[in-house]
Symmetry: C2
Subunit: 221 residues, 2 copies
């Protein structure tokens, strides 16, 4: 299908790591797209129409067909536009990438949120847990520039949120001394122009992430 026949829209929000994933993937593929900023306090009728189940961003709409859930969208993009593969082509390497992406979303992210929710001794236990998880992930770099090898791939895109969240949550446990591999990797990501284009303004972004965690900590449960 020629490019001029393609209409690609991305419903996202500027600070969401989940919509940033999709922006990075589309840019890696060189797919022109219209970005539509959603107001999550007043969700648009389009978002509710395209993602009636979760009512969440990101949603990719390709020729009026919606795809929701960031990992599902990444796979869709990789299968629809074959240039610059995001996932490895070998089935076992592909499975390994999917395994670590799931680990980031279902384990590391869940534990990172708990850091924001816990206090005192409980918080210490959660920090130990996330450090163990981050160490396991770091080992996958194993001397490579990126999880994808010598260029950015699926796991790098999925782990992209580390580069800002750690500044809010990291404290003295997520440091270059303790995680040299992950910090080198963050540095490598910062060298990629295309990735930098998807990075929101730093101070504004930090303030937003801090806002989320302050709300989590202070809202009665």
């Amino acid at each position: 299908m020629a490019d001029q026949e393609q209409v690609v829209k991305l419903y996202g929000t500027w600070a969401s790591p989940f919509s940033q994933r999709i922006e990075i993937a589309l840019k890696l593929k060189g797919v022109p797209f219209e970005y539509i900023e959603e107001d999550l306090i007043n969700k648009s009728p389009s978002l509710l129409k395209y993602n009636p189940v979760h009512k969440k961003i990101p949603v990719l709409v390709h020729n009026d067909k919606p795809v929701a859930e960031s990992l599902v969208i990444l796979e869709y993009i990789d299968e629809t536009w074959k240039n610059n593969p995001i996932l490895p082509l070998d089935p076992h390497e592909k499975a390994t990438a999917r395994f670590w992406a799931s680990f980031i979303d279902n384990k590391i992210l869940a534990t990172a949120v708990k850091i924001g929710l816990c206090k005192g001794e409980e918080k210490e236990v959660v920090i130990l847990e996330v450090c163990e998880q981050l160490k396991m992930l770091e080992q996958q770099l194993n001397g490579k520039d990126f999880f994808g090898g010598d260029k950015i791939g699926f796991v790098d895109i999925v782990a992209f949120w580390f580069q800002i969240t750690h500044e809010v949550l990291g404290g003295d446990f997520f440091t270059p001394e303790k995680f040299p591999g992950l910090f080198e990797w963050i540095g490598k990501l910062q060298e990629i122009d295309l990735v930098n284009e998807c990075r929101p303004p730093r101070e504004k972004h930090l303030a937003y992430v801090r806002g989320i965690f302050e709300c989590l900590i202070n809202t009665p449960k």
Copy 2:
């Protein structure tokens, strides 16, 4: 690669819907495999070696290379053995199947577990929630025999656990009157010999699932 060169092992447990998924997929593909029953109270050194991150079943070991996480394994199987596709070939249909598989694992399963954990009014709210989720899933059948169309596919395999869990948790909310589509689908699954081979002995299985929920309900939190 010729079949005789392939060594395929599945580490699972008889009552786990997650290892049942893999059994069904391998049988659909006609892949011969060795099934190794794990004792989850005394995990084997092999399991710990092949899945050091989660230390969980199922693990598929193909020519000594392990793949863990049931959805990741299903994708691996479908990409490695191309006959009898489990996922649709069209990228948008494939994305839709992945979306619903994720919905089953991350939403319906999580809510079903909550039913076992809640009491009184709270339980009523959770039951309403799971009914709404099941209704959304049921709509995907839309007159078809299976979620995959006229034959069993990815979403059918992932939703396979409904066929027994509902007998423990279903009570008066998961009934053929309220969910005629899902009950017809359960009936269609029961007509497939290959699927029946993966079904554990009924009374033993029911007792096991009941045991899990009784433990969840009665263990102090």
